[in-house]
Amino acid sequence: MQTDFILNAAKAIQQAIVANENALESLDRAIGDGDHYLNMKRGANAIIDIQPALATLTPDAALQQIGLKLLSTIGGASGPLLASFFMSMAKTIKENGDDSISKIAASFAAGVEAIRQRGKADLGEKTMLDVLIPVSNQFVLLAAQHCDSKLICATLIDTAEQGMLATKDLIATKGRAAGLGERAIGHIDPGAKSCQLMIVAVCKLV
């Protein structure tokens, strides 16, 4: 993985977030407090702003800087969670390298595990993990089977969409919607939606 790819991914993510302003805002107004889109946009724009500095770094150092920037920019729950993802991914790549799809999948899985621990949440709680855990598992599995990267990305796009849609029927037991009880049923989780958007944006670059 090259730093160039990370920079392109950051750009694609920023465009995907901004293009889905209405979708993210209406989901968060339904079961959250209406700030999710603003936070995601602020974070994505902050990464675009530091692109010149990131371009001079190795991939793991760039990911670490992205994590730190998100940590000091986003706030809310998304800030520490996304920061934990990128910082853990950076650490794994620094230790093990990124010269195979399996190693990249392993670093992605480490990032998702960091979110799981920081948020003390798991699959089925109507959060971003309902997208990230299935995608991570699928990514590791397909990489171990030496699948072609295009096929992996096509599969991950499907997995992300299924995970995102599945949050619609869940009762929230973690996150801001946890106070809603059964009233959250019928609404897609905004964090799951933004994660799905980011995964699709990155996979389409491959």
């Binding site: 603003l38 800030g79 520490p80 801001r176 106070g179």
Partner: protein, 339 residues
Amino acid sequence: MKKFITKIDDMLVDSLNGFATAHADLVNLHLDPHFITRKNKSANKVAVISGGGSGHEPLHSGYIGYGMLDAACPGHVFTSPTPDQMLAAAEAVHADKGILFIVKNYAGDVMNFEMAAEMLPFEHATVLTSDDVAVTNSTYTTGRRGVAGTMIVEKCIGSLAETGASLQACKALGDKVNSRTASMGVALTSCTVPAAGRPTFDIDDNELEMGVGIHGEPGRRREAMREADVIVKDLVAAILEDLESVHLKAFDINSGETSEALLMINGFGATPLMELYLLYNLAAKLFNQHGLQISRSLVGNYTTALDMAGASITICLLDDEIKQHWDSPVHTSALRWGR
């Protein structure tokens, strides 16, 4: 949306500058990262720091000063502040007796303060406030939310810290006050996050939101609008049910235990004081009927939700220690007595 805004992106800093200038005798404002510190802090005390999303003013910056907070970190509207703010604030106010974070129990606030605590080079402890009885505490939720009762926790901890007490003692008192405090809120309207430009939720003229959170996040039930006495009866019942389950003794008149309490009626930002006092009258009578002697009172806008109409009722069960720290002198921009 009709609000006083010069430039939407500058709104928070413009407001912070106004706050710092208006209360220049009490506070110093630091920008990038944003935090506010207390002027004339006594040396050799636990540094008490709180923070949270903006839009709840006077929480937390309004409680910086003698007998309460040493620093506060304001986040974006309804968004937790970030660890760099907390670390900078801690660096600015620490005084060799450790750092105490007071954090409202919301996922974002908890995680940001947690990451700051992990990076903190000083001895530290955290008190999580969780007074909102609207959200049931269970292993499957992140637990009860911290709402208006947070201010009572900040007042008592700040008072004890001022005496030079240890970090452990301050944390223990904070945890005790939190465990004896219960709140429940009701919204009559939604609120509008300035950058979003439209109300956070839709609510009809003939509806109310029972158990609303301080970010306008929906509560447990949407109900038809009713007379104030009926609404207060429901709020009081929810609070009593919670207190009785946790503190049975406080209500057993024959046990000889005191059942003294502090009653706070907190406005969410757009409900006039006239109505808040009307609510106080109703709530105080009901609590009295249930054996609670209301010996301390507070009525006003202490933990707001921008321009939401509505109010919350908070009860704090008093004992001699809590009473002493509630009554002790305090000098902040939003709470001042005794000096």
